[in-house]
């Protein structure tokens, strides 16, 4: 089963199953992400996208299946360990440390790698600059706009020096201009050698940004390929039904 | 020995109904507002003094004061909720807990100031003695308290199940946002709930006045036992509180029969800790959203 090609994948999940009571939320999902890729994870509401993220990042334990990062098994590890191994996720609903100043928010992530306060601070400042929030360092995170909070999430995750970043709808709630800014940011991330797996609802962004798209439906993977190919896939169009137009 | 244990179990069962009534009020408040009400014991204590003073000053049968106690405590609870608790419901949970703690300090020490720390007891001739049940004896005032507590608990249950308002309370407990979306006035439900919870505590207090001493700090034990029962039954669960109350009543009474000193309390707290740690959703497995 394990082909030489897949063994090299940065991230390789096989046969993930997660049940909640009688409901099968994720059913035998296998996926792989190669270093340097931007992969989109899409699917209608309730398809199990966020559950997959939770399984990959250690917030949920799969009932079956395995997740490997660079060949190292992640199942059974706690989220903070997985983060330190290089896989970091953001949350669909932004979860800034509301009472802490922006810089301190990012320093939380920076400490995952840094050995001294000075280093942590330097990393945090650099990440803030990267997302364009340098002048907000002293502001409590709760006072940021939604777009700024999304960028703060990216900066925090970035500060942990990830190899693979799982972004859960970082575009949600942004206006078209802000979507542009964020898309730019994501491309720059890849330029820094970070691999991206993103859940996204803003289809235009997905189609333009991603190298490859995975489609989940009712907890199962129904398509996996370049955006243009997936957009023409009969099964995918059926799954989205009314939303099919968005894919064009 | 067996007779002794049987007697202890029966006495415990009778007391347990009162614990259940106390706990039902606590759990109702927690269920609807996610507030752990530290003032609950103090409210019970006020109910005790109400019954006491009604009897001593007006010569009224303490049980006749029950409706008045209910109304007074309901009003007090509603005022506390609307005036103090409602404005800070969005604050972190421990702020609400501390607020009720502050209210507890005020009420208890007001009682201390007004009525001194003296232990007061009611002596009512026709309540002396016990009713035999086979080889066991049923203490009259305890029996009445048991019946009264069960009746009020049942009435509350019927209210919550079969009336429009009761259903609104349960809907709010299940999903605040959803309830407000379908037109439930959540603020009013909060006030009503806290009033009902306070009234339950007050009536429980009035019911035990004829056989227990009345003092400003008497509520502590009931508060702590109330917490135990509520957690045992699952925070927010009505039937769980009822079952838990009876269970703790019997457990405490058996503990007292078998163990020296105040070690019976130790048993209660150990049960509490074990349940919190191993089944925080309660023995009866009612799911909660933390």
């Amino acid at each position: 089963m394990v082909g030489g090609e897949e063994a090299m994948s940065l991230l390789a999940a096989r046969g993930l199953v997660k049940r909640f009571g009688g409901l099968v939320a994720v059913n035998r999902v296998s996926l792989h992400v190669e270093a340097g890729e931007i992969v989109g994870l899409i699917g209608p509401n309730g398809a199990g996208k966020t559950t997959v993220f939770n399984l990959l990042s250690g917030f949920l334990r799969p009932d079956e299946g395995s997740v490997r990062l660079d060949g190292r098994e992640l199942v059974g590890r706690r989220p903070f360990e997985i983060c330190r191994l290089g896989l970091v996720r953001t949350f669909q609903i932004v979860r800034p440390f509301a009472d802490l100043p922006v810089l301190r928010n990012v320093m939380v992530g920076a400490w995952a790698r840094a050995a001294a306060a000075g280093t942590a601070r330097a990393i945090a400042e650099e990440c803030l600059a990267f997302v364009g929030l340098s002048d907000k360092g002293a502001v409590p995170a709760r006072d940021l706009t939604i777009s700024e909070q999304r960028r703060l999430e990216v900066a925090r995750a970035l500060a942990t020096r990830p190899r693979l970043l799982l972004l859960d709808e970082v575009m949600a709630g942004l206006n078209p201009h802000e979507v542009e800014v964020m898309s730019d940011l994501l491309r720059q991330l890849v330029g820094r050698g970070i691999t991206l797996l993103l859940i996204e609802h803003v289809m235009r962004a997905v189609m333009r940004t991603c190298h490859r798209v995975l489609v989940l439906h009712h907890g199962e993977k129904i398509a996996d390929g370049p955006p243009a190919q997936v957009a023409r896939d009969r099964q995918v169009i059926d799954a989205y039904l009314g939303e099919a137009a968005l894919l064009a | 020995m067996l007779l002794l244990l049987g007697q202890a179990a029966v006495t415990g069962l009778l007391t347990g109904a009162v614990y259940a009534l106390v706990a039902v009020g606590l759990t109702l408040i927690f269920g609807v507002m996610r507030v752990v009400n530290f003032a609950h014991g103090a409210l019970l204590m006020l109910g005790m003094y109400a019954a006491y003073w009604f009897h001593v000053l007006l010569g009224v049968n303490p049980y006749l004061s029950l409706p008045v106690t209910f109304i007074l405590l309901f009003a007090l609870g509603a005022v506390i909720q609307r005036g103090l608790l409602q404005p800070i419901l969005a604050a972190p949970q421990h702020n609400q807990l501390l607020l009720t703690l502050g209210v507890m300090l005020i009420i208890e020490n007001l009682a201390l100031f007004l009525w001194s720390p003296d232990f007061r007891t009611l002596r009512i001739g026709w309540l002396e003695g016990a009713i035999p049940l086979g080889a066991l004896l049923l203490n009259k005032p305890r029996l009445i308290a048991f019946a009264g507590a069960l009746v009020l608990t049942a009435a509350l249950y019927l209210f919550l199940t079969f009336t429009e308002l009761g259903r609104a309370i349960r809907a709010t407990a299940q999903d605040r946002t959803g309830a407000s979306l379908v037109g439930v006035n959540v603020t009013r439900i909060n006030t009503l709930t806290f009033g009902l919870g306070a009234a339950c505590a007050g009536v429980a207090g009035a019911l035990i006045t004829p056989y227990l001493y009345t003092a400003p700090q008497v509520g502590h034990v009931f508060l702590l036992y109330g917490f135990v029962v509520v957690v045992l039954g699952g925070l927010g669960s009505f039937t769980g509180a009822l079952a838990g109350g009876l269970l703790i009543g019997i457990g405490e009474s058996l503990g007292a029969a078998l163990l020296p000193g105040s070690l019976k309390e130790l048993v209660v707290y150990l049960i509490f800790i074990l349940v919190l740690l191993f089944r925080p959703t309660g023995l009866f497995g009612v799911p909660h959203r933390g």
Partner: protein
Amino acid sequence: MGEAPAPVRALSAAPKIPLALGGLVLAALVLGAPLVATPYLLRILIMTFYGAYLAQSWNLVGGYAGQFSFGHATFFGLGAYATALLFAKGGITPWLGMLVGAILATGAGVFIGFLSFRYGLRGPYFALVTLAFAEVCRIAVTNWRALGGAMGVLIPLRQSLGTLQFSEPAAYYYIIVAMTAGISMLALVLERSRLGISMEAVREDVDAAEALGVDTTRTRLAAMGLSAFCTALAGTFYVQFFSYVDPHLAFGIDVSIAAILPNIIGGTGTVLGPLAGSAILVPLGEWMRAYLGGYRGVHLMVYGAILVVAIVFLPRGLVGAVRRWWGAKRP
């Protein structure tokens, strides 16, 4: 709550010299107080610093790490009883007793924390389980005759440095001032450390912290252990100062409340909060006891009222309110 060093630094750049001067004056006042204070005033000062120390101990876990313990009496009582029993029954110096108590308390804190966090107890559940542990201790000690039972433990009077008993109240004063200064320094160091920042992250959002590589379980356990250790030392101080302890004084809910209250008034998760809170609450309480002592319960009633008012009107305590006012004043 939990301001970063950054904004404070920005603020203090200009008025650094007046600030340093103010600090010197304050230090001189604090250190010189026993020379001029009446015995009564000195006693109030001792109790104020003692209250501040106890509250700062709670603040480490309750404020910074956001784990709302309602049972710090457990740790306080372990410190007090270990010191008292070892000295009264075994003649062992409180210098050792205090260490034993602090280690026991740390163990208890980590144990309670481990059980609670492992089973995911948060918010009111954590508050209730810590409260229950303290009550278990109180009842157990009350019923345990070898530990003095309900009568408590009386410390034999033997004044010397080795027994940590002094004829001069000023000695106790300097000790508690040093303890308070020490724990406040600890809090300041913590604010700038990895552990401190992790604690704040855990307080704000456990899951988000975990996702960013924070070992949230270990962070909370460390906070519990540290806080318990410091709280136990408050118990030792209490025993040495009053020469007596009983189950209620050591493990009663009043102790837990005393550890929390100054934080709520002053502001949780800040170094100054518990200090400011205690500076208000303790003298006020003493004053009321002196002048309203004839009216039983009045001073506790006022405490309750202050608590209610503080929560409704100053949800972030005095420090938070001053910060907001200061922030609004700036452009």
